[in-house]
């Protein structure tokens, strides 16, 4: 068997776009400066699919988003790119108040198949507007799914799943993973939404981490190897959240640390902690620790390394629950 080809994460996303647009004529992309490829995930697509399916819009997020929203109601399957995830807030009302809840409120009669995508994350010292992670804001609202890949394999599979899903799906990707290389099969495949992945097996502590923070989790697990055996679970989706995989891991480890590149309060880390205490209290041998951004706006400049979750903070939390 030949070795599986390696691709950077951003090219894995692009391959999902390309294959799904070849497979289904209803799929198209809309965004700002996507034809030229302000991020390389759309680079070159306009040459194959033309401006009818790689649609650049004026600098107007409501109209841009509306292109996708209305077209989805008319049977198209749009992918709408917000460039930086924080910019989604310019269209938060139609996304969260209308799109996500539209199907239910209108009697579950219609579907709104669409992908809302954007890059995000700390690491470029750009400050809150560009770095803000929005996954928890979106995931709080019923009717929309939310996922973020940690590896190129998951990136292609989750994007393919998101495009084929009949619900609105927010696919957020972290800039700190953009050029990470990993094995990506050439044929189309799906990584199911709402299914977590045990990325590393261990027996002493369950460490939940995703996106760029998954990489930090691996750094910590490598460092502690031989001393503390760390099991890493990547939730992959924030909504729906696969709590069962985390509970199953806790049966073995009894200890839980959740890393979430988001504010400490009301985050996915908080949600996982609440659900585990609710239905898995007897599995715990130690308090749950959350590694998050303190409740302050994410500053730019030189403060990101210690304000955002980092290997030192994760290691300290792991050691704390394993005392």
């Amino acid at each position: 068997m030949s070795e599986v080809r390696e691709l950077p994460l951003v090219e894995a996303i692009r391959e999902a776009y390309r294959q799904e647009m070849e497979r289904d004529e209803r799929v198209f992309m809309v965004g700002q400066d996507i034809a030229g490829g302000i991020f390389p995930h759309t680079k070159g697509l306009v040459e194959q699919f033309g401006t009818d399916r790689i649609v650049d819009t004026p600098l107007a997020e409501v109209g841009m988003y509306g292109t996708a929203f209305g077209a989805a109601m008319e049977g198209f399957r749009p992918i709408v790119d917000f460039m930086f995830a924080g910019f989604f807030l310019n269209a938060a009302s139609p996304i969260l108040a209308q799109t996500a809840q539209f199907r239910f409120i209108h009697g579950s009669q219609m579907s709104l198949p669409m992908v809302i995508t954007a890059a995000c994350g700390a690491g470029m010292r750009l400050g809150n507007e560009h770095a803000m992670l929005v996954h928890n804001m979106i995931a709080q609202v019923p009717g929309i799914k939310v996922c973020m890949p940690s590896t190129p394999y998951d990136a292609k599979g989750l994007m393919t799943a998101a495009i084929r899903d009949d619900n609105p799906v927010a696919f957020i990707w972290h800039l700190g993973t953009m050029m990470d290389r990993g094995p990506v099969p050439e044929e189309p495949y799906v990584v199911p939404l709402g299914v977590a992945d045990v990325k590393r097996e261990g027996s002493d502590v369950t460490l939940v981490a995703n996106g760029f923070q998954y990489k930090n989790a691996e750094i910590v697990a490598d460092k502690l190897a031989g001393e503390i055996s760390v099991e890493i679970i990547d939730p992959r989706s924030f909504s729906p959240l696969d709590i069962d995989t985390i509970l199953k891991s806790l049966e073995k480890t009894g200890r839980l640390v959740v890393v979430d590149e988001s504010w400490e309060s009301r985050s996915t880390a908080s949600e996982i902690a609440a659900q585990v205490v609710d239905v898995g209290f007897d599995l715990l041998d130690a308090p749950i620790r959350r590694v998050t951004i303190p409740n302050i706006p994410l500053p730019g400049g030189h403060m990101e390394p210690y304000v955002a979750p980092n290997p030192d903070a994760i290691e300290a939390a792991v050691r704390d629950v394993c005392r």
Binding site: G63, G70, M73, S93, G107, M110
Partner: protein
């Protein structure tokens, strides 16, 4: 393009039906037999009827909150029994009794009112984009004058003109937004003046004249279907009553002038249309009497249907199953 007598008779019939529907809703909210609000359309039902009666089956239509879209519902030919059942939280409601007055008939591409005034300026871009690609349909984007304060309105007009989308921006300008007058909210008396900046054709018409509205929208629809892009149609209308039943009828913080409101009643579209259909011998008084009788019978059947339908109270499990497509 002048309307034929059959078209005029159909418009007249729909206007009388819509007027009866509006009065039905007024009566019911006063009797406590309606959930939530009712934003009466009394004296202003012609615009919706004229704009919607001659749309194609594939066209997308999205009425706003005034009269809860009943003028448009009458023109579109929806099952108003299911509409009223929705407004009363019944199982036969068009949205399963979940939507309060945020009703829709998705199978008819009729997406009704929202409390987020101007929400539809967002999806209208995609409706127009999709319609242009399909080639055999257009969008009638209905709203009031107040909604043109929303930034999304300007984004929608920008996109529509950039991409020559088949959209009719149909503005019912009644000069009032709750208690605010148009002179407080817009620098120009005509909302359609906004279209100028986008190079969009615009026309101001008498929204009390159901026939003039229909003629204008038919022409704007043909313009759209011919690939020539959007049109702004501003239908000047009025508001005889308060914003919604139970709210004081103020202009800014003062009661609206009673004598002025009495004057407005002379512009009732039913009076204007009746005068014309008789004068032009489109209908006889006997035929008009028959239309009124049928409208009353239709309202009775609508109310019976909605009242007979059981209250919708599905289990939490059933509701959870309706959030996502499985």
């Amino acid at each position: 393009m002048a309307l034929g007598k059959e078209q005029m008779a159909l418009l007249y019939r729909n206007l009388i039906r819509a007027d009866h529907f509006d009065k039905m809703m007024m009566n019911r909210i006063m009797q406590g037999k309606l959930i939530g609000f009712y934003h009466p359309g009394d004296g202003a039902m012609a615009a919706g009827v004229g704009a919607s009666t001659f749309l194609g089956d594939n066209d997308i239509l999205n009425p706003h909150h005034r009269a809860h879209g009943l003028g448009y519902a009458a023109g579109r030919g929806i099952d108003v029994g299911r509409y009223l059942a929705e407004h009363t939280g019944k199982v036969d409601g068009c949205c399963g009794g979940r939507s309060s007055f945020h009703w829709s008939f998705p199978e008819k591409k009729l997406y009704g009112a929202s409390g987020f005034i101007g929400w539809h300026f967002c999806p209208v871009v995609g409706w127009g984009w999709a319609s242009k690609r399909k080639g055999n349909q257009m969008v009638l984007m209905a709203s009031g004058d107040g909604s043109y304060g929303q930034g999304g309105a300007h984004e929608a007009m920008l996109f529509a003109m950039n991409w020559k989308l088949p959209i009719v921006f149909f503005c019912e300008n009644n000069g009032m937004a709750i208690h605010s007058t148009i002179s407080d909210m817009h620098p120009m008396p005509d909302i359609s003046s906004l279209a100028q900046g986008y190079g969009m054709p615009a026309v101001v018409i008498d929204g009390q004249d159901v026939f003039a509205v229909a003629e204008t929208v038919i022409a704007a629809r043909e313009h759209a279907l011919a690939g020539k892009g959007p049109t702004f149609v501003e239908a000047k209308t009025l508001r005889l009553r308060e914003h919604d039943v139970g709210t004081p009828d103020l202009a800014r913080a003062e009661p609206r002038d009673a004598q002025y409101l009495e004057e407005l009643k002379k512009r009732d579209p039913v009076v204007l249309a009746t005068t014309r259909v008789l004068a032009e011998k489109v209908l006889t008084q006997k035929q008009i009497d028959e239309i009124y009788k049928e409208a009353k019978e239709e309202v009775a059947a609508i109310e019976k249907f909605a009242d007979d339908s059981p209250i919708a109270q599905p289990s939490i499990e059933e509701l959870l199953a309706g959030v996502y497509v499985a």
